[in-house]
Structure formats: C-alpha cells, structure tokens
Amino acid sequence: MKKKVKNIFIEGPILPEFIANSIAKHQSKLDIGAHDIFLGQVRADEIEGKRVQAIDYSAYNDMANEVVHDIREAAFEKFDLSCMHIYHSIGRVESGQICLFVFVSSAHRKMAFDALRFIVEEIKSKVPVFGKEVFEDESYTWKVNK
C-alpha cells in the first residue's frame, strides 16, 4: 500500500519556534543519537544593482508533494534513518527568513549526514517550486537553482 503523501508547504517563512518544536518532539525517541538539520535562508543578493528584499514562492503543489514523497521513500531505502521531516515555504519570505527545513535523525551521525545531503540536493533539483526574487522597488526577477 502506498503511504499517504504529506503536504510539505507552509504559508510564509518557517519560524525558529516551529523548528524548536520539531526538535522537542524527538526527545521521546530514545534510539536517536544524531540529528542533522538543513535550513535554507533567503539571501539579500544584489542583482544588477538591486537588492533582493524577499522571495515569493509558488509551486506545482500536487507534483511537488508527490516528488518529495518519492525522495523521502528513496532516502529511507538508502539510509538507516529514524525520522525525516521536510517543509518548504509558499508565498512571500523576506530576506533573512527561512524557506526550507529538512530534518533527519538516525542512531549514528554518518547516516544522518549522508541522508541530509542527498535529500537537499534532490529537493533543489527535482521539486517544482518557483521563486520570484522581489527587489526593494517591487520589481523582480525569476530565481534559478544552480
């Protein structure tokens, strides 16, 4: 039976309190020895003389959730993990705020390190999330992942 596809999207920025909460929930899991967390933060890049004020994220939601579901399954297959959580912002996220939160937990650190890196690279390259980099004067450009 196929597992339920989760919704990864959170409206607006991902708050530090949300992350703290997520960490706290793992304190009852007594087989975990290592957590590894990746946070993507919006940079105030300067592009042709203008500074990025925010990124306005949109997505092909259904496909994005399906793709993340597949990444999750692949990661659980490849790595010996206790837990995995993936969240991405949708809508406007100001520079300095967090837009991506990936959280893996394992008995030992090696698995956590390897898994986190795999998942983040997969998300960056395969998940249909789109970003409009909005400048201070509200003009914009479209972001492209490298």
């Binding site: 990124i55 949109s58 837009c99 998940v127």
Partner: protein, 80 residues
C-alpha cells in the same frame, strides 16, 4: 484531434498570461512537438529553460501525450 489542458506556473504562467490554457492538438503528439507549438505561440518560452511534466512526472521530449493527460510546463526550479 484531442483537447489538452495545459498548466503553467511562475514564469511560464506569466508568459502564457494564464494559469491554464486549453489546446486543440493532433493525436499522438509527442512532447517535443508540443514544445515547438508552444514556442511558436509564446516566443518568450524559448528563452527560458522550462521542462514538461505529464501527470506530475517530468518527461523526455519523445513521450506521447494522450487525451486526458495533465500537462504542465515548468520554469526552472528554485526551491530552498
């Protein structure tokens, strides 16, 4: 002929001027033919590195499009 619902997002939505358009296309159309058709209709599309998804999966140019497929044109990904 077949009727196709095409979804667009972000920059492709901006170029099409709509979140979705309905197209009348010949049967057994392949993805590369769809791309050529779209780039003629919406010339700015050829300037961006967009990809095509059928039924929420990224596909190659040789894939056939069938009636009832959900077709999406996706601008470059920018997640994270």
């Amino acid at each position: 002929m077949q009727r196709i619902e095409l979804l667009a997002f972000g920059q492709t939505e901006e170029i099409l001027g709509a979140q979705s358009v309905t197209l009348e296309l010949k049967e057994d159309l392949i993805v590369d033919e769809l791309r050529a058709f779209l780039e003629k209709e919406y010339s700015r599309l050829s300037e961006i590195n967009y990809s095509v998804a059928l039924n929420q999966k990224g596909v190659e140019g040789s894939e056939k499009i069938k009636e009832g497929d959900i077709v999406a044109i996706l601008p470059p990904f920018a997640g994270g």
